[in-house]
């Protein structure tokens, strides 16, 4: 833990020193710049250590983090500090979070009540991080599995499944089974952008365990809360209403739920909001510092989720349109605009393109397995987004129904699902549905009448994102609408009659208490049980799925797995060495088991001939555990590596 604290402190210090050199006008912008630079530094350091140097270990990462601090020092001392004090609470009349009169924040009972709910929720989440192991379907399937493999291998590599299934034939399974099989075949990790997962890698490398990996999205979500405050201020709301909006972003049920799991959706929504706010600020300030931070933020967003590549394209077009407008208005010179556009593009490429280039190199298509086709031009893939992902994941009632109706049903919380990490038909929360969504209309209408560009940009770009977004009814996919809705809510709230304000505040608190209560109980339902257990027994096998309980009783071991979905729990809190063991026949598989020096072999009974082969090798393998989904065999002592 000490190394983790040191490394993170070095990273933060480096970013802080760099920002001290930058001409950021508002306190909020400086905080946001520190956040963006920190996450950009983390991505660059881990890619350098894991991909370029192939020395992904505590020493190298710590050294590179110290190098980041050194770079910060160099940048800061080059021409001295240009910005105001980052921690100053005396910034002028810009109305940002640092202005005098902070005490009056607490005089607002609404903010105080929301703050209490938020503090309780965050405390419960911290307990969840500490007491509960990673358990959610996708995190133990493909978000954390590659990260654990890189940690063990000391390098960022492709998982062996990718090599095994490089020429996988999708026609041999039905379309219903395709999504499952593709997950097994490619483990997604080999084709998805993984910037957010790198935060889990940072935690693993520096702590040597996975105790805190479920907090992976936390730093991104903090950036999202700051961006919500900024968007709210840009939209014309006052300081207190904007602070309320930032807190409500953190209390959005789907954001709270995703703060507990190592998924990427909350991080993605947060970075879209950050890029949107920084785009507005860059337009206003038009300097290289804002251009740099904007480019890094767009790149981070793009490198978190594949949808981000389309959103980055929209941002680039918006930036070019803004440059053209600025040039025509005579606000900026042609050379200055070219320079800024180049800085944005370079920064975007530094933090956002690695994963796409990697997939392009190996599969001939940056967004493989999604097939890209148009104007007689084609990049290879296995089908459309709809066929590969959405067919199997769309709820029965939503199939063939009007998209607007699906969006309204889901966003207005009319579904019956519980609040969980997978919820498809609810998750934005009754507070957002009742108070933020209806506020978008008067907010946009007023902005249109007054020609208020920031509001028109934020609403317009969000609408374009929604048009490009597959399954826009799925709340966790569209978390970027939350900050914009909250900015509208804050603007409306400031302009309401005082009696209506009281009514709105009452509805808000009631909805918050109910939704937050449900969210915490439904997502941290195992917490009381886990708190009663010894630390060694707070495991996936003990708390969630007994098929994996045997892993807890092992000393550090070498475990071989055959093609299967949930590989991550086999690592047993990163104590075990876990690797694919494969063969084309019983004989070659047997040879692989011996050559790899395995202690245990795990088979999925529904997949391939491996389990049958295992039973046919009694001289090598003895049955150890028979589970619901997986069987475990122990390699006879003395038959390991020869």
């Amino acid at each position: 833990m000490l190394w983790f604290l040191l490394g993170t402190l070095a990273l933060l210090t480096g970013s802080w020193l760099m920002v001290a050199r930058m001409a950021m006008k508002k306190t909020l912008d400086r905080w946001l710049a520190i956040g963006v630079l920190t996450m950009a530094g983390e991505v660059l350091i881990l890619l350098l250590a894991g991909q370029a140097l192939r020395h992904l270990n505590r020493g190298v990462v710590l050294l590179l983090a110290l190098g980041w601090t050194g770079l910060g020092l160099l940048v800061r001392n080059r021409q001295g500090s240009r910005a105001g004090k980052i921690f100053s609470f005396e910034s002028g009349a810009t109305g940002d979070i640092g202005e005098p009169g902070s005490a009056e924040i607490f005089s607002s009972s609404l903010i105080a009540a929301t703050g209490v709910i938020l503090a309780f929720s965050l405390a419960a989440l911290v307990l969840g991080w500490i007491y509960l192991p990673p358990f959610a379907w996708d995190e133990i399937w493909y978000h954390l599995t590659p990260v654990a493999a890189w940690f063990k291998q000391g390098a960022i590599t492709r998982l062996p499944e990718a090599l095994l299934w490089q020429h996988y034939d999708p026609t041999r399974v039905t379309s219903k089974k395709l999504a499952l099989d593709l997950s097994v075949a490619f483990n997604w990790a080999n084709v998805y952008p993984l910037n957010a997962e790198l935060n889990a890698l940072w935690i693993m490398v520096l702590t040597g365990n996975d105790l805190l990996v479920d907090a992976t999205q936390f730093p991104y979500v903090v950036i999202g809360a700051l961006a919500t405050f900024g968007l709210s201020r840009s939209g014309g709301a006052g300081r207190n209403a904007s602070i309320l909006a930032a807190m409500l972003f953190l209390l959005t049920p789907m954001v709270l739920i995703h703060l507990r799991v190592a998924y990427v959706d909350a991080a993605f929504g947060s970075m879209v909001a950050a890029a949107l706010y920084l785009f507005l600020r860059w337009q206003e300030e038009r300097n290289l510092e804002y251009a740099l931070i904007l480019g890094l933020a767009i790149g981070l967003m793009m490198g978190i989720k594949s949808t981000g590549i389309a959103f980055a394209g929209v941002f680039v077009l918006a930036i070019l349109a803004s440059c053209l407008w600025q040039y025509r208005q005579g606000v900026s010179s042609k050379s200055a605009l070219w320079l800024q556009a180049a800085v944005i593009l370079l920064a975007l490429m530094a933090t956002g393109t690695f994963w796409y280039l990697r997939t392009w190199w190996f599969y001939g298509n940056p967004v493989y397995p999604v097939e890209i086709q148009g104007l007689g031009w084609k990049l290879p893939g296995m089908g459309s987004v709809s066929r590969l992902f959405m067919t199997a994941n769309t709820p029965e009632a939503y199939r063939g129904r009007n998209i607007i109706l699906n969006i309204l049903t889901s966003w207005l919380e009319l579904g019956n699902e519980s609040y969980n990490y997978y919820s498809r038909t609810r998750g934005l929360g009754p507070a957002w549905a009742a108070l933020a969504l209806p506020a978008v209309l008067p907010f946009t209408f007023s902005a249109w009448r007054r020609r208020r560009a920031p509001v028109l940009w934020m609403v317009g770009l969000t609408l374009i994102f929604l048009i490009l977004q597959p399954a826009a009814w799925w709340p966790r996919y569209v978390l970027y609408v939350v900050p914009v809705g909250l900015a509208a809510m804050a603007w409306v709230y400031d302009r309401l009659d005082p009696r209506l304000k009281t009514a709105v505040a009452s509805i808000l608190i009631l909805n918050l208490v109910v939704a937050t209560g449900l969210t915490l109980v439904e997502t941290l339902d195992k917490l009381p049980a886990a708190m009663r257990l010894d630390p060694a027994r707070r495991t996936f096998g003990e708390l969630y799925f007994s098929d994996y309980a045997w892993v807890d009783q092992l000393p550090p071991s070498r475990i071989g797995y055959t093609p299967m979905a949930w590989i991550y729990p086999l690592y047993g809190g990163l104590r075990n060495q876990v690797e694919l063991v494969d063969g084309t026949s019983a004989a070659s598989w047997r040879e692989a088991i011996i050559n790899q020096g395995l202690d245990f072999v795990v088979t999925n009974t529904q997949y391939g001939d491996y389990d049958r082969w295992a039973r046919s090798l009694p001289d090598l393998l003895t049955p150890y555990r028979k589970g619901e989904m997986i069987n475990v065999y122990r390699v006879r002592p003395g038959r390991g590596q020869q």
Binding site: R233, P454, V492, D497, L510, V514
Partner: protein, 60 residues
């Protein structure tokens, strides 16, 4: 058209009666639909779990 993203200085203007009525009506209807669907009632269903939380926190 302003490109400024700071507060526009229109903090003191009130929302019109039409938009106020629209906003509060929508908020009430959506909230009503939420509680008619499940919402509050589901929280009561979880009372047993809340009790368990409290017991663990108190160490009893």
């Amino acid at each position: 058209m302003s490109t400024g993203s700071g507060p526009a200085g229109d903090n003191n203007d009130r929302l019109s009666a039409f938009w106020s009525l629209f906003y509060i009506s929508a908020a009430l209807v959506i909230t009503f639909l939420y509680y008619r669907n499940l919402g509050l009632w589901r929280l009561f269903e979880h009372a047993r779990r809340w009790l368990e939380w409290v017991r663990v926190m108190l160490g009893v």
